[in-house]
């Protein structure tokens, strides 16, 4: 039995709290409170039967003593008793027995100690659990467990499987040396396995096909890694700086301001500083010291990168012609496709000598508008069929698939090429290849588009339509010509003019069901299938498409009407007054024309700032400026507006009126033998009138990139390039014989910033695409402002000139009047008197002759002369 450890008991006794505290350190010199070390003499020991090493031993050091006995002993022996110091404690002791412990190891300093409290006694006698159990186990009867019968649960099989057993006996190889060599020294050496043949025998592992083990289970170690690991780092904030600051500027209060303004120092300051400032301001005014003269000298293209290989003239880029469709036909109009690059549309008319009236009866052959693509110069890509020759056509600016054209017979025709646009977009690879192989099969059928809608003959113009234009998407026009806002933001109205002295406004939307019967006819025609794919875009116009507004142009001073050939109006750009929401809505989807209806005029807001004035060029060479709004009389009657002014600038037919793409109010007109530039608002006449040239100017157009440059086409096939800033009396460049015949149309186009094209068409059906040389399309740096100034100057000059003229006339009149008054009344000889004078002279002559002849002796008497 292991010796008891009184220390732990002591510790627990000394702790007073059972089991809670840590056991105090083992060596405790002082004794706890409820234990009192005592010395017991041998007499006492004998008395109480606790003789050292006899009754009480190290193994059983406890002795329970009766308290009565102790008290008795104290009484009998009084002071001599060993128990005298504990007399009081013993008397107070509740229990009957008190514990005396033999302390052989002298832990408390004495041989014995007395346990003073019953609790401690209990504690010592019955120590806490571990000791207790141990004690119990010690005191219990130790029995070895009985071995039970082993019941096999199947584990021996596994064990047998796992266990390693010898399958055969161990092989024993005994090497011994030959007997005669026993005892002799041995020398061992190394040998490489590779040196000797068969030095090593390898047994490579191979996959035995007889059996295969499939690994069903494999142990592998895993370690869980936390998905999210948060860690933090502490940085040193060495330099604190503000992330953001919010501040308000300091301001002076009114009082302070007043004070300062009145102060003396401010006055001094002002006086001191003013001269400097004035000097600086004046310097600034006089001259710009920072202006780089050298750079400013170069005017655009020369200053830029001017490589030597710049073309000097208009280089022919491509030429389009087609045997079947375009040869020997006069091209009347040409348009570039606004969105698809490299596609042009050309309208052809048959060159006829007769007047237009004869045409309408005889010619039934259909005419076409031909689309050419850059990639295929000899075959048109698309054809638009029309009932008569088209003199003018335009592509709708808001939907490039809609094309409107005006016919020779006065009809307005609409096409929708949405279904055929793919022909224009893709380059035709097959066309080129096929032309090499078989010519017959290569005759690809060129898609033809028939018109979607045509105006009826009785509602159209009576004469040929010479000009067609779309109204811009920014405004539309009501029945009275009032411009109102266009909610749909698409171009929906077309303006046409014709030498039948009218201008008509057409609307391509579904007309109101009240007035028109077009809606009825549209429902009927739904099942009808047309041969070529004609789209239903304009079915609603049906058969009764009539103009919205008809204007005839009365002459200003004389009776009759003007015969317009071309017209031009100002393209109105929206101010942005419309709601944002409307714009967004309408741009999200392009509305179909068939869904658009003419809204009632009251629902739309009028746009008062639209310029409703038209410039019209007539057959007689006049330029007429008129308003298209119908005027209201005093009596309430609506009638056509009177033109505002008219000017005869050209000798004969005006064939071009074009607004400058840079300035809204500058218009170029060409006709007859000259051309003119007008400024809108200047009613006295054109601000620039060119000198008369030898050739007829057949067409003119502005350059798209340079504000001062425009091109004039001539009767003999030459093109003149004019630059207003360089020379205003003659063209800067004249390219002779660009075509062989009269030039009928010129249209510029910008295909890329480096390539500008000019499409030139002529009477023989050839379309030439010329590349404009760089110097004519790269604008100068300040060209626009210079040109504007130039026009202003010209306008002033014109006004001045006119004023001068006026003044001259006045002066002349006045001087004449003065002259009449001041000269003396000279008797003007009458006719009779003159006669008499002459007769007298004659008579004098005769007498002189007579005298001379008499003197010479040759005088013969003359016959009698009668008085004349």
């Amino acid at each position: 039995m292991p010796p008891k450890k009184p220390k732990s008991a002591k510790g627990s006794a000394g702790g007073k709290k059972k089991g809670k505290n840590e056991p105090p350190p083992e060596e405790k010199p002082d004794h706890p409170e409820d234990i009192l070390p005592m010395v017991l003499t041998s007499v006492t020991q004998e008395l109480f039967d606790c003789r050292a090493d006899e009754d009480v031993t190290a193994e059983s050091p406890y002795k329970l003593l009766q308290t009565e006995d102790i008290i008795q002993d104290i009484k009998t022996r009084a002071g001599v008793s060993d128990f005298s110091p504990v007399k009081q404690i013993v008397l107070d002791y509740p229990d009957d027995e008190i514990l005396l412990v033999y302390d052989r190891a002298f832990t408390y300093g004495q041989l014995f100690y007395l346990v003073l409290t019953p609790e401690a006694k209990d504690r010592i006698l019955n120590p806490p659990e571990p000791e207790e159990t141990q004690g119990e186990s010690e005191w219990e009867v130790c029995r070895t467990p009985e071995s039970k019968e082993w019941i096999s649960l199947g584990s021996e099989l596994e064990i047998e499987e796992e266990s390693v057993k010898e399958t055969r006996e161990k092989l024993l190889y005994k090497f011994s040396r030959v007997r005669r060599e026993l005892g002799k020294p041995v020398s061992f050496s190394d040998r490489n396995t590779a040196d000797a043949k068969d030095g090593n025998l390898g047994f490579a592992s191979y996959e035995d096909s007889r059996f295969s083990i499939k690994l069903m289970q494999r142990d592998c170690g895993t370690q869980a890694v936390s998905r999210l690991q948060s860690s933090s780092v502490q940085t040193q904030w060495k330099f604190p700086w503000n992330k953001s600051t919010q501040y308000a500027p300091r301001e002076l209060s009114e009082e302070e301001r007043k004070d300062i303004l009145q102060s003396e120092s401010l006055k001094n300051f002002c006086n001191l500083v003013t001269p400097r400032v004035l000097q600086a301001l004046q310097q600034e005014e006089i001259m710009n010291v920072f202006r780089d003269d050298w750079m400013a000298l170069g005017n655009g293209p020369e200053a830029g990168d001017w490589s030597g290989k710049d073309s000097k003239g208009l280089m022919l880029h491509q030429a389009f012609t087609d045997h079947k469709y375009t040869k020997d036909r006069k091209i009347s109009s040409i348009n570039w496709h606004p969105t698809i690059d490299g596609v042009i549309a050309v309208a052809l008319t048959v060159e006829k000598e007769q007047n237009s009236e004869e045409l309408t009866t005889s010619d039934i052959r259909p005419s076409f508008i031909v689309f050419f693509c850059f990639s295929d110069p000899s075959h048109p890509q698309l054809l638009l069929e029309s009932p008569g020759d088209i003199l003018a056509f335009k592509i709708c600016p808001s939907d490039p698939n809609i094309i409107v054209g005006g016919c020779m017979n006065g009809q307005v025709v609409l096409w929708d090429i949405s279904a055929h646009v793919t022909y224009l977009q893709r380059p035709p690879p097959s066309g080129k290849k096929d032309s090499l192989e078989l010519d017959d099969n290569a005759e690809n059928v060129i898609p033809t588009v028939r018109p979607c809608a045509m105006s009826t003959l009785e509602n159209s113009h009576k004469g040929r339509i010479t000009d067609v234009k779309w109204l811009p998407a920014t405004f539309e026009v009501t029945r009275t010509g009032e411009p109102v806002e266009n909610k749909q933001k698409m171009s929906v109205q077309v303006v046409t003019c014709s030498p039948d002295r009218t201008i008509m406004f057409w609307d391509v939307r579904v007309p109101k069901t009240v007035s028109q019967s077009a809606s009825d006819s549209s429902t009927v025609d739904q099942t009808e299938m047309t041969p070529y794919t004609v789209l239903d875009t304009f079915k609603h116009l049906g058969r009764t498409w009539r103009p919205l507004l008809r204007i005839s142009l009365l002459k200003i001073s004389t009776k009759g009407e003007y015969t317009p050939l071309k017209f031009n109006f100002e393209p109105y750009t929206c101010d942005g007054n419309t709601d944002e929401a409307d714009e967004k809505d309408d741009r999200s989807e392009i509305l179909q024309y068939s869904q658009l209806t003419v809204p009632s005029a009251d629902a739309l807001t009028a746009l008062p700032d639209v310029n409703t004035k038209l410039y019209i060029g007539t057959e007689d060479g006049e330029i007429v400026y008129t308003d298209w709004r119908l005027e209201k009389d005093d009596s309430g009657q609506v009638h056509f507006p009177k033109p505002l002014h008219c000017f005869r600038a050209h000798y004969c037919m005006v064939n071009t009126i074009q607004r400058s793409p840079f300035f809204k109010d500058i218009i170029l007109t060409a006709g007859g033998f000259n051309f003119a530039i007008w400024k809108e608002g200047v009613i006295e006449g054109p601000i620039i009138l060119s000198p008369n040239t030898e050739q007829v100017c057949t067409v003119g157009c502005w350059s798209l990139s340079r504000p001062a440059v425009f091109f004039i086409g001539k009767d003999d096939g030459s093109i003149e390039v004019w630059n207003l800033l360089e020379q205003s009396s003659e063209p800067v460049e004249a390219y002779l014989h660009v075509t062989n015949a009269k030039i009928t149309c010129i249209t510029p186009w910008i295909s890329s910033p480096k390539q500008h094209f000019l499409a030139v068409t002529d009477e023989l059906g050839m379309v030439r695409i010329l590349e404009i040389p760089k110097k004519f399309f790269v604008p100068g740096r300040t060209e626009r402002s210079n040109v504007r100034k130039y026009f202003e100057q010209d306008k002033k000059r014109l006004l001045d000139y006119l004023q001068c003229e006026e003044m001259c006339k006045k002066e002349k009149k006045e001087s004449e009047k003065l002259k009449k008054k001041t000269e003396p009344v000279k008797p003007v000889p009458t006719l009779q008197e003159i006669d008499d004078m002459e007769l007298k002279e004659y008579r004098d002559c005769l007498t002189l002759e007579e005298n001379i002849l008499k003197g010479m002796g040759l005088w013969t008497a003359p016959p009698e002369i009668d008085d004349i």
Binding site: S265, K267, F290
Partner: protein, 96 residues
Amino acid sequence: MAEVEETLKRIQSQKGVQGIIIVNSEGIPVKTTLDNSSTVHYAGLIHQLVMKARSTVRDIDPQNDLTFLRVRSKKNEIMIAPDKDYFLIVIQNPSD
């Protein structure tokens, strides 16, 4: 006060002058012909510039001092005449 006004008028009458601001040494505008927000903007920024310019000049030569500063930009020219207590800012649109 009248003198100050008169000076301002003289300067204002020059061609191309867009605005005049008088600022005190702390950069607070005292008198201006522009609207408040622009004034405050100009005053704050130009004050710093003038201080920097002045310190530059004096750093190079302590006997020297800044008399006039002209800032030429694409759109206009800003002229600043500094003094001990105030400085005058004039914004001019050059003629060309």
